[in-house]
Symmetry: C2
Subunit: 380 residues, 2 copies
C-alpha cells in the first residue's frame, strides 16, 4: 500500500508584529503599502469576507501549507470546498467585522503530517488507526482522517494583531482509496457517514487537548469543524457535518452543532432526489433554454448547496466546443436574461462559460441582487 | 505547401422574420422567451454592447462561421481581437442604441473560403495572389488575406428587423507561415505594414463591388475595416489599421480613416519602448508589489492597448503554480487594493488570476469606476 503525500515546505515566516492599523479602513495599513517591514492587511472585498495578513510585504502562508493525504486522483472540488467552508463555519463564531483571517501558524507541516498518518511505532501521534495488516477492503483499518487544517482569527488592539481564536478543520473520508502494491490497482474502503463522523469527533478531542498544550492556544476559543470528503468520482465537493466552539481553556469538546448541509449536482441523476423539486425544474427550464442557443453546446450542469431543504447557492457550469468572440458576447447577454428569468432567486449564483480554450465568460449575482453582472474574457 | 483550413459547416438557418419588439427593453421580446418561433434579442448587458439576434430559439450563427486560413499554430489572440475589434469599429458608425448585432448572413462559407484562397484556374474569385511557383520566402507570392468576416447591423421598425448596415473585416497577415512540403518545416514570408495595408485596400474595393451585386446589400452602408494580424509568437493580437464607411449604393471606397491603434505587452521588452512611460512604471510598481505576495508567484504580464499615445485599456494576467483557496481569496483582496493604487486610472482594466487548474479569480474596473470588483471562483 502506497499513499502519495504532498509537502510544500516553506521557510517559516518569522512572527514579528510591527505597527498595524485598526480594522477601519481609514487607519489601517491596507493592501499595498510600499513599506517592506511590518504587518499589513490585504484589504476587504466585501463586508462578508475576512481580510488577510501580510507580513513584511509577503502573504503570511500557512505553516502546514499544502499538507494532505493526497489521493492518486483526488477530487479537486474537496480542496476548495473544505477551505472556503472552514471560513464559512468560522464566520458563525468570528465575525468578519472584528476578526482578520490568518493562515494557520501554530501547526507545522511535520505536526500535521504525523497527525494524519497512521499510528505506528515510529509515529505515536498518528490519528489514523494502526494498520492491522489486512488488505481486504472490508477487514483493513481505513484511513479515516484525510486532512487537518488550521485557520487563525486575529483581533486588533493598540495597533497590534493578536490571536483571537482558531478554527481547525478535520476532513474525514467517505471512501478510502488504497493500493495493495505500488503502481497496482486502486481499491476502496467505504466509510459510512456515522462511522466517519464518530471517528472524527473522537479525534477532535485529542486535537483539542494537543492544541491546548501550546501556550499561545491555551486561552483562545478553538472551533473544530468536521468535513466529510466527497468521493473522487463526485462532481461536487464534500460538506461539513458539525462544528463545536470550545471556550478558552477547555480541553474536551462538550457539544456539537450539527450542520445539515448537502451538495447536489444538477441535473439530478435518475434514481436520486433533491430537497426541492422547484429548484430542479427551474434549473431544467434554464438548461433547455440555454442548450438550444448554439448548434453545438455540450453541457449545462450545476453544483447546488442545500441547508436542510433550503437552497444556499449554485455554481453553474456551461461547456462547449467552439465559440467565436461575438458568439460569446451574445451568449453571455442571453444567459443574463435567461438566468434572471429561470434560476431560483434569493441565493448567490454564478455561471461559468468554458470552451476547450478555458473560461470564456462568467456571470454572478449575490443573494440580494436581481440582475446578474457579467464579464466576457477578451484579448487585445 | 500545405495550409490547414477549418470549416465548421452549419445548416443555413432559414431567414424567417416574425414579430419582434422595439429596442426599448419594455416592449422587446428579450432573451429567454419560451416561444420557439419568431425572432428575439439576447438582451443587453450594458449600453455599450449590441444585442444579438435569436431566431426560433437558436442564436443566428454566421453563415461563414469559423472560416479562416488557419495557421498550423495560430495566434489565438488574433481571433478574439479581430472579432471584438470589428464590433468596436462598427460602434463608430452603427450606434448600440439604434442597431442590433447579427452574425453575418450574406457571405456563405463557400464564398468566403474561395475569396481567401489563392486566385487560380479553379478559383477565379480568390483574393490572394496566384502562386508564382517559388517557395523562396522573399520571391514567392505570400498569402496576404488571412480572413474575411461579415457582421450585420439591424434596425427595428414596425416590429420587424431589417438590415441597417454591414461591416466587413479584412484580416491581413504580418507574417505568412508556409510549408515547402507536407509535414515539413514552417517558413515565413514577412509582409510589412505598408505593403499589407495597400494590398488589403485594393481587395476592399473588389469586396465592396462584389457585395453590391447582392440585392440585399445594394442599398445599405458597408463599413470595411482592415486588420493586421499579429505574428504567431506575439503575446497580444493584431490591430485595426483603417476603416471606410461606404454609403448605400457606392461601389468603390472613396476614403479611409486611419486608426492609430497599437498593442503592447507589459513588461516592455528591453530594446522596445511604449507610448507612455508613466504607464510602464505604474505597471512595474504593481508587478513588483504583487510578485512578492507569494513565495512562488510565477508571472505578471499585461496586454495594453493604445490609441496614439493614449492608453485605452489593459488585460492583466497573473499566473502561479499553487494556491490554496484561502490564499486565492486573500490574494484577490490584495490585488483589489494594489490595482487601484498602482494601475493607471480612467481606462478599463481587468485582471485574471490563473493556476495550472485554470482561472482562479478575476477583477475588473470600467473606465469610470474607481474600485475594482472581484470574483473568486469557488466550488461546493
Amino acid at each position: 500500500m502506497k499513499r502519495l503525500r504532498t509537502f510544500i515546505a516553506l521557510a517559516a515566516v518569522p512572527l514579528f508584529l510591527a505597527a498595524c492599523g485598526n480594522l477601519s479602513s481609514s487607519s489601517m495599513s491596507s493592501g499595498s503599502n510600499t513599506s517592506k517591514s511590518g504587518t499589513q492587511l490585504t484589504g476587504q472585498s466585501t463586508d462578508t469576507d475576512y481580510e488577510g495578513v501580510i507580513k513584511s510585504g509577503h502573504y503570511q502562508t500557512s505553516k502546514s501549507r499544502g499538507v494532505t493525504n493526497t489521493q492518486d486522483s483526488g477530487n479537486t472540488y474537496n480542496l476548495k470546498s473544505f477551505e472556503s467552508g472552514m471560513q464559512n463555519v468560522s464566520k458563525k463564531v468570528f465575525s468578519t467585522k472584528n476578526y482578520v483571517f490568518q493562515e494557520g501558524q501554530y501547526l507545522s507541516t511535520d505536526t500535521v503530517q504525523n497527525w494524519i498518518d497512521r499510528k505506528s511505532k515510529s509515529n505515536s501521534t498518528g490519528l489514523n488507526p494502526a494498520s492491522n495488516g489486512s488488505t481486504s477492503a472490508s477487514k483493513r483499518n481505513p484511513i479515516y482522517i484525510q486532512a487537518i487544517e488550521e485557520q487563525d482569527y486575529m483581533t486588533q488592539k493598540n495597533n497590534k494583531l493578536s490571536l483571537g481564536g482558531v478554527t481547525v478543520g478535520i476532513a474525514v473520508n467517505s471512501v478510502d482509496y488504497y493500493k495493495k502494491e505500488q503502481y497496482g490497482a486502486t481499491y476502496e474502503t467505504k466509510i459510512d457517514k456515522a462511522t466517519g463522523e464518530a471517528y472524527a469527533k473522537k479525534v477532535a478531542n485529542t486535537v483539542l487537548q494537543r492544541m491546548r498544550k501550546k501556550s499561545a492556544l491555551k486561552n483562545v476559543p478553538i472551533v473544530i469543524a468536521i468535513y466529510r470528503q466527497a468521493s473522487d468520482d463526485s462532481l461536487v465537493g464534500g460538506n461539513f457535518l458539525a462544528y463545536s466552539t470550545n471556550k478558552a481553556g477547555t480541553t474536551s469538546v462538550s457539544s456539537w452543532t450539527a450542520l445539515d448541509e448537502k451538495n447536489y449536482v444538477f441535473p439530478i441523476e435518475s434514481g436520486t432526489s433533491s430537497p426541492n423539486s422547484n429548484d430542479v425544474s427551474a434549473f431544467s427550464n434554464f438548461k433547455s433554454q440555454v442548450e438550444n442557443f448554439f448548434p453545438n453546446l455540450s453541457g449545462v450542469t450545476a453544483q447546488a448547496r442545500y441547508s436542510g431543504k433550503t437552497l444556499q447557492g449554485m455554481h453553474v457550469n456551461i461547456t462547449t466546443q467552439f465559440y467565436s468572440q461575438t458568439e460569446i458576447i451574445s451568449f453571455t447577454q442571453y444567459l443574463q436574461t435567461a438566468a434572471q428569468k429561470y434560476l431560483p432567486s434569493g441565493v448567490p449564483i454564478d455561471i461559468t462559460v468554458s470552451s476547450t480554450d478555458g473560461v470564456q465568460s462568467f456571470l454572478a449575482r449575490t443573494a440580494t441582487e436581481k440582475k446578474f453582472t457579467s464579464h466576457v474574457f477578451n484579448s487585445y
